[in-house]
Amino acid sequence: MVSKKTSPRRSRGPDVSVVLAFVALAAILAAVVLGDVITRYGATTPILGARLQPPSLAHFFGTDNFARDVFDRAIVGARTSIIIGLGTAIVSSVLGGACGILVAVWRGLDNFVMRILDGFIAFPPIILAILIIATFGGGYWQVIFALSVVFFPRIARVTRGVSLGVTSAPFVEAVKVMGGPRWRAAVRHVMPNTIGPIAVQATYVMARAIVIDAGLSFLGLSVPPPTPSWGNMLGEGRLYITQAWWLTIAPGLCIAVTAMAVNIIGDWLRDKSDVITGGKR
């Protein structure tokens, strides 16, 4: 997704943005794990006489129309985004990776499987997700399933490309010549070489899944409302956009920071694996 070519002359010291991205991601993961310890008021408890208050020391992100603390809701909402982002990244990597390796090793399947995946990719991402969610309902598992259907063909394409490169390498040809079974070539030789590129794609998928899920929750088509999520907080905040700017800014910043941190880490991973594979991808 993001391609950043830099001249070979440029030295690669530790980048400030990469460090910041890791710090941000660590903070978000801390919020996911320690959510109940950090929150002071609770994500769903109304605070008496504190409706629509602007940010202050008592309420870092202000309060919403139901007098709930927006900071606490954002902390608990991190869970939804991270679970769906990670879940989608894992499921689509496993599925996409398996498909990609399969068609690269058993070449007879290639045309058939890849044309089917082309059909999947032809759906604009959010629209396929909406169709699946309208069919199976909203909830953690359904949303992860829907987003994985959207993203696994994209990972399969990349994995196929990498695997094809590996299968034509002399050491894999040697396995064939020696009469080794194809599955052994697939598992022992092709798979380990695809893990790097799949990990890079998985981070991009995670960032995109978080952003798309935010859109789906905004529309009320993701994890249903009593559970706070950054997307449904924005959806509720839109109704008060003329009175309470913090209801729009706070959850949006959470989404933006998370997506950006994950994207930066993805770029960093890619640059690292570029060094290992000698700049070839």
Binding site: D118, G119, I130, L219, I255
Partner: protein
């Protein structure tokens, strides 16, 4: 000349036939998903007080009787005739409802396309030309930001700044151009910018990469050797080859705009295609949802086919590789 014509024809034939299996998969996937949906569409259409005969008539009409195979046959026949069924919520033919709601989406996407090209390409040229300078790093960080932000949130922030705080533009709503031209422009400006941000960032990055890679090529070096001004080389010559790279992004931009429009239209309360899909999903209006999804996917394939053809017409290397 004859062989050139020949290679174009062969390339076109190859690309067009490659589209057929993709469309078949799109159709099968939509059919399967719409059949997996809970609840019988006929009951949804008629409500509770329907007689057996009414149900039977509609089932026959929509091909919901018989084996799954014959149902699929009926469904395909209906789709190919442009017969997408009747929207439950709007109580009108699906095709008709979609056509009614397509113009607002085309308006904001068209504006977004203009913004994307008018701003993205110059930014990419500047960043690529001044590679690794402060300007380049600033522009590329900005582009990174643009690609990570959810478009609908960009829209909400624009509303906060330009509508709520400065009061320059309306908070939401859509005005048709035949009602008021200036009202139309006012109503599509913010959503158009929101849609453009992500794709603009991508175009800038691709043009930058293209400028960087061409500046190392012999033909650019030779232009420098002939004493042409760097500005002329950049805007006359390197721009041309970056445009070829940028064209591929336009096909993707189409999918990007539709995806972004789904949520952006809700933010701005614009009754467009994205708004329609959301309504259909929220109200479980399966015939409408199915028709809209099919249309979105098929038009994505067609747009990409057109982009590929344009690409082949411009760059002879592509059609030779494809044929």
């Amino acid at each position: 000349m004859a062989s050139r014509q020949n290679s174009i024809t062969r390339y076109l034939a190859y690309r067009v036939t490659a589209v057929i299996p993709v469309i078949v998969v799109i159709g099968l996937l939509t059919f399967t998903l719409s059949r997996l949906a809970p609840g019988n569409p006929i009951e949804l259409m008629l409500g509770d007080g329907a007689s057996q005969q009414q149900v039977a008539e509609l089932e026959a009409q929509w091909g919901l009787r018989g084996s799954l195979g014959s149902q699929l046959w009926h469904w395909c026949a209906n789709m190919l005739h442009g017969n997408f069924g009747k929207s439950i919520f709007f109580d009108a033919p699906v095709g008709h409802v979609i056509v009614q709601h397509i113009w607002p989406t085309l308006s904001i996407s068209g504006l977004a396309l203009v913004i994307m090209i008018a701003i993205g390409i110059p930014l990419g040229l500047i960043a690529g030309h001044r590679r690794d300078t402060v300007q380049d790093k600033f522009l590329m960080s900005l582009s990174f930001l643009g690609m990570s932000l959810p478009e609908f949130w960009v829209g909400m922030v624009l509303v906060l700044i330009f509508a709520v705080h400065l009061g320059l533009l309306p908070v939401s709503g859509y005005v048709a151009p035949d009602v008021s031209l200036s009202g139309w422009l006012h109503s599509i400006l913010l959503p158009g910018i929101a849609l453009a941000v992500d794709q603009l960032a991508l175009v800038a990055r691709i043009v930058r990469d293209s400028v960087i890679s061409t500046s190392e090529e012999p033909w650019v070096t030779s232009l420098y050797a002939r004493g042409l001004k760097p500005r002329t080389i950049l805007f006359r010559h390197q721009l041309k080859s970056s445009l070829v790279a940028a064209i591929t992004v336009i096909g993707n931009a189409f999918a990007g705009f539709i995806t972004a429009a789904v949520v952006v239209e809700i933010v701005f309360n614009i009754p467009g295609f994205g708004w329609l899909i959301t309504q259909a999903a929220q109200r479980r209006d399966y015939p409408l949802l199915q028709g809209a999804v099919l249309l979105a996917a098929v038009s994505y394939v067609v747009v990409n086919l057109l982009v590929d053809m344009l690409y082949a017409a411009i760059d002879p290397r592509i059609r030779d590789a494809g044929a």
